[in-house]
């Protein structure tokens, strides 16, 4: 089949034209980069679809998938914790280009935004050629991605209130790929939600730790370390980013620091 560069004029047109070997292109920082693992024959440009609005919708903030990281940083309605996650992408030039939808759809374990968004139970508005727009939890999009990988992300919805959130990114230099990106939120009276991406390992919710944090009044770093040491929710590997021992230690310290931060309610 000939390669096609399609500039979709409507969402309907975009989803109708989507096939297994076409990709949607947003900011282009992932598809066009060196050694991109996105393979495609044709592309569908989203630039004319108007998916770059940030709107208040009841208890949620609805963020168009085509919004760039920098747009989020500059928007007064976007909560500080999400702005901070956007700033994990150090390069301003790249932040001018990269979109929230693209960062989610890439599903990279070193994603700048996914841990933070999952930790607030973010929802996605999707559409495909068989189904008008519909909503799912971001966590489901990640866990069952095969079911959704051909869908177009229209928007991301985050709750406007009710969550105290802290996130941290660990990398060699600011512009290096992260080997740990972790986020934790506190919601309700004492419920905690954790989500972390570990380079070369994938994502994990660390449910056992969430339960521990919710059940115990005082949690020490030793408690966190014990959970991480014994976790089977994710596998750790020795790689260019460090040893298993180092990663487990640093993840424990990071999650404990995030716990202290959200428990204190500073954000």
């Amino acid at each position: 089949m000939d390669r096609e560069f399609i500039i979709a004029n409507t969402i309907k047109e975009a989803v109708m034209l989507k096939t297994a070997d076409t990709v949607y292109i947003g900011g282009g920082t992932e598809i066009n980069r060196l050694d991109s693992d996105v393979s495609y024959n044709s592309v569908i440009s989203l630039r004319k679809l108007g998916l770059n609005e940030i709107l208040v919708q009841g208890e949620y903030l609805k963020i168009g998938a085509y919004c760039s990281f920098q747009q989020l940083i500059e928007n007064k309605r976007v909560p500080q914790y999400l702005k901070e996650a956007c700033l994990f992408m150090g390069s301003r030039t790249k932040r001018n280009m990269a979109t929230i939808g693209g960062n989610i759809a890439s599903l990279r374990s070193d994603s700048y935004l996914i841990p933070t968004l999952v930790s607030v139970n973010a929802k996605l508005l999707l559409q495909n050629k068989y189904k008008d727009s519909y909503e799912i939890d971001l966590i489901n999009y990640i866990e069952f991605n095969n079911d959704y990988k051909n869908d177009l992300i229209l928007s991301v919805e985050i709750p406007r209130e009710g969550y105290t959130v802290a996130s941290k990114r660990c990398s060699n230099t600011k512009l290096s790929h992260a080997f740990i990106t972790a986020s934790m939120s506190k919601f309700g009276k004492k419920d905690y939600l954790i989500f972390a991406g570990l380079k070369n390992s994938g994502f994990s919710k660390f449910d056992a730790l969430s339960v521990l944090l919710s059940q115990k009044n005082r949690v020490s770093i030793t408690d966190v370390r014990e959970v991480i040491d014994s976790t089977t929710e994710i596998k750790f590997f020795d790689d260019i980013f460090g040893s298993v021992e180092y990663k487990k230690y640093l993840l424990s310290v990071t999650l404990y620091d995030l716990y202290c931060e959200v428990k204190g309610g500073s954000k």
Binding site: I7, N32, R47, T93, N96, N172
Partner: protein, 959 residues
């Protein structure tokens, strides 16, 4: 696809492939300022343009997205010959040096100030966060913004840098680099800008194995591919042995390779090369080549290489041009498979390839064993440095063609004459048949002292008769270029309770990789540019350099010194701790001062006997005192956050100014018929301002304005010989050659004036602006009048002076570097809060450029100390051969408080008292930061990079 665009204010329509990257589109349409440093990694920012008024990476944009968009490139910033305010501010601040992404930076700063006329430091940092700067660091970018902001507001600007030598008009004054306007505007400057239409492209098939014999290569399928011109392998190219280091001939490096070898010795080694009409066809043809390998065991560290029975990297026939040992024939009876090839030495460098030893050396003064025995304390430590890549923004690149029966080579090189000599060897041509042209160089840092792509590109053009262009990918820069030699350094140091150092033993085991470029001299520098800092009477060094199957090592700014200095300064700090002596007191007691005779140098020549000399001009004490005062040495700082601990450290530094007795520079200066001057310098300006130094020297000597002086350099046809820009030789050697030439020209002018005016020579002198005057009459003769007559047919002909410079004198720059770090005791993170580099450069001829080179060198060294490390797997594959994973520091890693300052010392040998500047600033960060980390959290991290994981391990937080 039809596309309408407004580019630099002009509406244009195009019919384009919508998948084409915007950078390729712009470059193909003549907007050469938009360059590529990272093969679309989205890291370096050389490809930045403004798209609808916002900075984007053009490599990450497909043109199909752009219908109706507006694009601004650096070419569109000004439509007059004048620089914009921002561009002029960048020039004045000294940050336009190798300048490969200066046009991109000028766009970003233009955008910043348009958006925000009064940006904060944080705003500037954010704007520059998408640009990687390797040559000048980021500090003077803040200055450039301030200058531009003030000028746009109509305010007077501050001086951009200190001035030196009141009595001089140009030398020692920050008045800009003579080629900076061309560079910041993004005009044609670099090799890639001179490639002819219809040029062929060269791609290299590289080894997937760290060590293997090549049994056979089937190139038939590749040759059949449409567009393929020629496929080269070891089976159809000459078996001519050479080496790629650009060093003085005869070189203290072994000739241990051919264009292609029948044994590959590292992952990334050359197996074959394809010349084709496009790069894509050449790459496709590489994929069609079938190679039958016999895979061999490999070694990757000096510890592995030195084991008895270790796999041998070279095991062929050994030959000597001179000084062959008596038992050579017996030695050669042990040679292995014929595919091992040969190793040819110009003279003995104490190698033994049957033990993987590429070179060795040793020497001593006094008696270290006795010193150790009688000491109050002895420290005995091993330090390890890592494999580091230069990462110049412009990768290695070459364009070669046959023209009029001659081979013309456009090379991005530090050593045009070595390029010519080595390409002559490879092609079999005589040097008069080769013309090397060095355009601007987009960053070298030592890697372009080596002839890494020119040999093959030139041979390909010669053998095919076609113009051939070769450009390394960024991955090739990592795996197939040169790198900093990893070194394991054992230091044993003894002292007395009063802080006196009584004995130093330094053992260096260096890893040269598969080939021996600089294999003797880099490790020797780890001793010869460090031990002479000490007045210690008992010193001994012993170095061995091993071949391994890692990516190759070679020259890197600072040569071996940053590694040796890291080990020695750390050991001294550890000794101070053992003796319970204040570190500064120990430094004060033990460092050399002017006049101290350096006996240790007697064995530390570059493959020859060294020369014992006294310390010359020396700003070491001044630098130490100034830095200690600036950083409040001795005062403990505390963080408000209990997790962060603060520590301080400092280190002495020294280097050289070229290689006395080895380096050689020449210059030819012509007085043109209108009284202007053209300088043809053999020296190679690689962006550091060497051409400006020549211009200033001529202006100062002939009392001519700078705009009447043109410098042409690095062209082997029009200029005379120069060993090249390495070993910190440019200012001292090439500059002194210009001093010699211009002094001769001045004498010729006065002689000619005497003849033309019919006045005694003793009556005459010169005054500004280029006029000969008489002290006894009203006679005046402008250079224009003088030269016009000389060239009129009645005169004596054009005045042309030739100067040269060789010396046995050493002009050593000194300094001290200071760091204050904060270390997170929970995570091991390190932040460099303060860094002060205080140096003696003699008379800094270009003070603002000198300071920026210091900032750049320190930033590199902070990278080497804390972040950068080429990581190989167990098969020798580099796992992080890209900018993002490798870990170069950017503006985020720059110290919060960063100052590079010069202490005023006038040198007796340098041109107008100048010494070198470029390399020495690489030598201090590692020990200063290492000592500061210890001061903060009490642990010594004895290997590069000093990562959080290593700190945590030393602190006992992890096993």
């Amino acid at each position: 696809m039809k596309l309408s665009l407004v580019i630099n204010g002009l509406f244009k329509q195009f019919d384009v492939d919508p998948f084409m990257k915007l950078r390729d589109f712009l470059s193909g349409n003549g907007f050469v300022s938009v360059r590529d440093s990272d093969d679309s990694e989205g890291f370096c920012g050389s490809d930045t343009v403004l798209l609808n008024g916002i900075p984007v990476y053009s490599n990450l944009v497909m043109v199909g997205e752009l219908d109706g968009c507006e694009i601004l490139t650096a070419e569109g910033l000004s439509d007059s010959a004048e620089l914009t305010v921002v561009q002029q501010a960048m020039v004045d601040a000294g940050i336009v040096q190798s300048a490969y992404n200066s046009p991109a930076a000028s766009l970003i700063l233009f955008w910043l100030l348009e958006k925000n006329p009064n940006p904060s430091k944080a705003d500037i940092k954010d704007a520059l966060s998408g640009i990687f700067v390797r040559d000048t660091g980021y500090e003077n970018y803040y200055l450039a913004v301030k200058l531009a902001k003030d000028r746009l507001a109509g305010l007077d600007s501050q001086p951009v840098a200190p001035s030196f030598r009141e009595e001089l008009k140009y030398v020692g004054k920050p008045i800009g680099k003579i080629d900076s306007a061309q560079l910041v505007r993004g005009e044609k400057s670099y090799v890639e800008d001179f490639v002819d239409p219809h040029t062929c492209y060269l791609a290299v098939l590289r080894s997937p194995y760290a060590s293997a014999y090549i049994n056979s290569i089937d190139i038939s399928a590749a040759e059949k591919l449409d567009g393929v011109v020629k496929v080269f392998t070891a089976f159809n190219t000459p078996e001519t042995y050479y080496m790629q280091a650009g060093q003085g001939n005869p070189e203290p490096s072994p000739y241990d390779r051919c264009l292609f070898n029948k044994k590959v010795r590292h992952v990334g080694d050359r197996v074959a090369a394809v010349v084709a009409t496009t790069y894509e066809i050449a790459k496709k043809a590489c994929d069609l080549i079938h190679v039958d390998y016999e895979v061999l065991p490999a070694v990757f560290t000096v510890d592995q290489a030195m084991q008895p029975g270790a796999p041998l990297v070279h095991n062929g026939i050994v030959e000597y041009i001179s000084g062959a040992p008596n038992d050579l024939s017996t030695y050669n009876q042990k040679a292995g498979d014929s595919r091992e090839g040969k190793v040819i030495y110009q003279f003995p460098i104490h190698a033994d390839i049957r033990k993987n030893i590429a070179a060795s050396n040793h020497g001593s003064i006094g008696n270290v064993e006795k010193a150790f025995k009688e000491a109050d304390a002895v420290v005995d430590r091993v330090y390890q440095t890592s494999q580091i890549q230069h990462t110049p923004l412009e990768p290695h690149v070459c364009f070669s063609k046959m023209e009029g029966g001659r081979l013309v080579i456009y090379a991005s090189t530090q050593v045009p004459y070595h390029v010519r000599r080595i390409c002559a060897l490879v092609t079999g041509l005589s040097e008069n048949k080769i013309h090397v042209i060095k355009p601007k160089v987009g960053g070298g840092y030592g890697s372009k002292q080596d002839i890494l792509v020119e040999d093959l590109c030139a041979y390909a053009a010669y053998a095919t008769g076609k113009p051939v262009y070769s450009r390394n990918t960024r991955e090739e820069e990592f795996i197939a270029n040169s790198t900093r030699h990893p070194m394991k350094i054992h230091v044993k140091m003894s002292g007395k309770k009063n802080g006196m150092i009584t004995g130093i033993l330094m053992e260096v085991w260096a890893n040269t990789g598969p080939y021996g470029n600089h294999c003797l001299t880099v490790p020797m520098n780890s001793c010869s540019k460090t031990l002479p800092l000490f007045k210690c009477p008992n010193m001994k060094y012993n170095l061995k350099v091993y071949y391994t199957n890692t990516p190759p090592a070679g020259a890197y700014q600072g040569y071996g010194t940053p590694k040796g200095n890291y080990a020695l300064m750390m050991a001294m700090a550890e000794l101070a701790q053992a003796l319970k002596v204040d570190y500064k007191k120990m430094v004060d007691i033990n460092h050399v001062e002017e006049g101290y005779v350096l006996d240790i140098l007697k064995g530390l020549g570059e493959g020859r006997d060294g020369k014992v000399v006294p310390v010359g001009s020396c700003g070491l004490s001044a630098a130490i005192e100034k830095g200690c005062s600036m950083i409040n040495w001795g005062k403990k700082e505390h963080s408000k956050d209990p997790d962060w601990k603060i520590g301080k450290g400092f280190a002495m530094v020294m280097q050289g100014s070229g290689l006395p007795g080895l380096d050689h520079s020449e210059a030819i200066i012509k007085l043109e018929s209108d009284g202007s001057v053209i300088v043809n310098s053999g020296g190679a300006d690689i962006g550091t301002g060497l051409d400006t130094i020549h211009a200033k020297i001529v202006a100062e000597t002939l009392l001519l304005p700078m705009n009447l002086i043109t410098v042409n350099s690095g062209d082997t046809d029009s200029c005379a010989f120069d060993t090249g820009a390495y070993a910190s030789s440019g200012t001292f050697f090439s500059g002194n050659a210009t001093v010699d030439a211009v002094n001769k020209l001045k004498e010729m002018i006065l002689d000619e004036a005497s003849h033309q005016l019919d006045e005694p020579r003793s009556n005459l002198s010169i005054v500004e602006p280029g006029v000969v005057v008489s002290s006894e009459s009203d006679n005046r003769l402008t250079y224009a009048e003088l030269s016009h007559y000389a060239c009129s047919g009645a005169g004596g002909g054009q005045l042309i002076a030739h100067g040269s410079f060789v010396t046995e004198a050493s002009s050593v720059p000194y300094g001290a570097h200071f760091a204050q770090v904060a270390v997170n005791k929970k995570t091991g993170e390190v932040k460099v809060q303060k860094f002060y580099a205080i140096q003696d450069a003699g008379t800094p001829i270009n003070p603002e450029l000198a300071q920026c080179q210091m900032y750049g060198a320190v930033m590199k060294s902070i990278g080497h100390s804390l972040y950068e490390d080429m990581k190989l797997n167990s098969k020798g594959v580099c796992l992080n051969a890209n900018m993002t994973d490798y870990g170069v520091p950017t503006i985020f890693e720059a110290p919060e408080d960063f100052k590079c300052e010069l202490v005023d010392v006038n040198d007796q040998y340098g041109p107008f008292g100048a010494k070198s500047i470029s390399e020495i600033a690489c030598n201090g960060a590692a020990p200063a930061i290492g000592i500061a980390i210890h001061d903060a959290v009490g642990v010594w991290v004895r290997s590069w990079p000093m990562t959080p994981e290593k700190i945590l391990r030393e602190m006992g937080k992890i096993k």
